[in-house]
């Protein structure tokens, strides 16, 4: 048998073999156990609060389901948790907070090791020509629409407090996750700020963002709204020192 064929057979057995079969060599059971334990430990580590929320037994069943559904493909175990919120959404279609909570944990973990960037601080923001500035966001910023108060559940679980009742958010909201000063952070944003962030990250100038806010909220309120967003984004540390440097972006193609 060629090495390639041997390795294909070995890999298939790790994924699908029956380690409980009495005819299996003890050594093969060691490898299959190592495989499953390493993936389980990875998911337990990445989703500690989700595990606490749904309970250890339910989490263990979800892990088994996930390992069967999604064999690991990346060289790094850091990538393996990425699809677990989808598995939980599949397993818990009526408990939407479970997948929301898992996504929040996943995002907090991913931004923790995301690329570094130099943050624009308020003191330097006064030197930016805001009339012409393009907003540049830190690369660890992540954003996802949520339908539950998973953020409140996470905070309570993290502080080892009694979690609140699950609430469905009436209007559309999103969770903003990012890293500042080596610490992963998050904040719930409403639909208008979510849309503003999506627009701004696409390369919109601050002036155009103001115009977009005016279109939504009217002349006076729109300008004030854009100003509040900018102040909040600066306070959160979401903007990089490239902000204001229009030539840092590729030219926009027009026809």
């Amino acid at each position: 048998m060629s090495l390639l064929a041997l390795q294909r057979d070995f890999g298939a057995w790790l994924r699908d073999g029956d380690g409980e079969d009495g005819s299996t060599a003890p050594g093969m059971r060691v490898y299959q156990n190592n495989y499953r334990v390493s993936l389980s430990a990875c998911l337990e580590d990445a989703f500690a609060h989700t595990r606490a929320w749904i309970g250890e037994e339910a989490f263990a069943r979800a892990v088994v389901e996930h390992i069967c559904r999604v064999p690991p493909s990346s060289w790094t175990l850091d990538d393996y948790p990425r699809d677990f919120p989808d598995t939980l959404a599949f397993l818990y279609p009526d408990d939407i907070e479970v997948a929301d909570l898992a996504w929040l944990e996943l995002a907090l973990g991913e931004v923790f090791v995301g690329p570094d960037a130099e943050t624009l601080v308020r003191a330097d923001a006064v030197n930016v020509d805001w009339d012409n500035a393009i907003l540049h966001f830190i690369p660890t910023l992540d954003l996802r629409a949520v339908r539950s108060n998973a953020h409140a559940l996470w905070s309570a679980l993290d502080a080892e407090r009694m979690p609140p009742e699950v609430e469905l958010l009436g209007a559309r909201h999103a969770l903003l996750v990012w890293r500042r000063d080596m610490i992963s952070r998050f904040r719930l944003v409403d639909e208008r700020e979510e849309q503003a962030l999506v627009l701004a990250r696409s390369g919109l100038s601050f002036a155009d963002l103001c115009a977009a806010a005016v279109a939504v909220a009217g002349e006076a309120d729109g300008i004030a709204l854009a100003g509040r967003w900018l102040g909040q984004w600066l306070a959160d540390g979401l903007l990089t020192t490239d902000t204001g440097m229009a030539d840092a972006l590729p030219p926009i193609q027009t026809r």
């Binding site: 060629s2 790790l14 994924r15 050594g27 490898y31 060289w75 090791v113 690329p115 660890t140 080596m182």
Partner: protein, 277 residues
């Protein structure tokens, strides 16, 4: 490999001891880190490693290069490792004589290779590819294994000797792995060590293991046992200058306990040096 032989004594950098190594100088000559833990884009892990590197020489020890993959190496993995190597300028870059990836499936374990001529050709090509990408020689570690392949064509030490000769790499000799394999496969560890191509060894790993139902398991969750210390003392007189490092990955004790074990290694090496002289 370092341009001149390095013969220091080191520990693995593990999370419970991060603060210790960022404080006053600890009595180690180098620290070894798991490469993949730091092959990230940024954030605290990279910041920590830069801080550590400013204080201590660092060896990069990988677990995911998959040197035995019949389909070759992952170029994205190698590019990330090269970037880390360029930044850290490590004492050694090492990985295992094993495989973990095939057809887009990654097992995240050190899976065994048959010791055949075909496998040797593949590992030689993969090590050469890695060394070309990294711009430096690597060390390859003998693994713990739990199965043996009936079709082996050469002994493990012959495989390692040919690998080093053809690829120009060095050896990371894990003495606990030799002990575990000897127990699991029924051979004499001393005989294995006596056949080892000693001239290729640049680094030694010492660790503990646990007894499973049928096999010894390379768990790194125990102190180095007397049996492994005995083998360390047995092989040292045959070796040139080597770096020695104690691996502990689970049930990690206070740093003081590991430093005491490292003192044991120093004492054994000093005795071996006197014997060799």
């Amino acid at each position: 490999m370092p341009s001149s032989p390095f013969a220091g004594f080191g520990l693995g950098l593990r999370k419970p001891h991060h603060a210790d190594f960022l404080g006053p100088r600890v009595a180690v000559d180098f620290l070894e880190v798991i490469s993949e833990n730091f092959m990230v884009d940024g954030g605290r892990p990279r910041h920590l490693l830069r801080e550590i590197r400013a204080r201590y020489p660092v060896a990069l020890h990988g677990v995911s290069m998959s040197l035995g993959s019949a389909e070759g190496l992952d170029r994205a993995y190698l590019a990330r490792l090269r970037a880390l190597v360029d930044e850290i300028e490590p004492l050694f870059v090492s990985d295992h004589l094993s495989w973990t990836r095939i057809d887009g499936f990654s097992a995240h374990d050190l899976l065994p290779l048959p010791y055949t001529r075909e496998a040797l050709d593949i590992v030689v090509a993969n090590v050469a590819h890695a060394q070309d990408t990294l711009g430096r020689a690597m060390l390859v570690e003998n693994p713990s294994t739990y199965i043996a392949f009936g079709g082996d064509e050469v002994a493990e030490w012959e495989f390692l000797d040919a690998l080093c000769a053809r690829a120009g790499c060095g050896l990371l000799l894990d003495i606990n792995n030799v002990f575990v394999c000897a127990a699991n496969h029924g051979f004499e560890a001393r005989v294995w060590l006596d056949h080892l191509p000693a001239q290729h060894v640049r680094q030694i790993h010492l660790a503990g293991h646990s007894a499973g139902e049928y096999l010894l398991i390379d768990t790194h969750d125990q102190p180095v046992p007397p049996s492994v210390w005995d083998l360390y003392a047995h092989i040292l007189p045959r070796l040139g200058p080597v770096a020695t490092m104690i691996e502990r990955d689970d049930a990690i004790p206070p740093l003081h306990d590991l430093l005491t074990e490292l003192d044991t290694a120093r004492a054994i090496a000093a005795d071996a040096g006197r014997l060799a002289a």
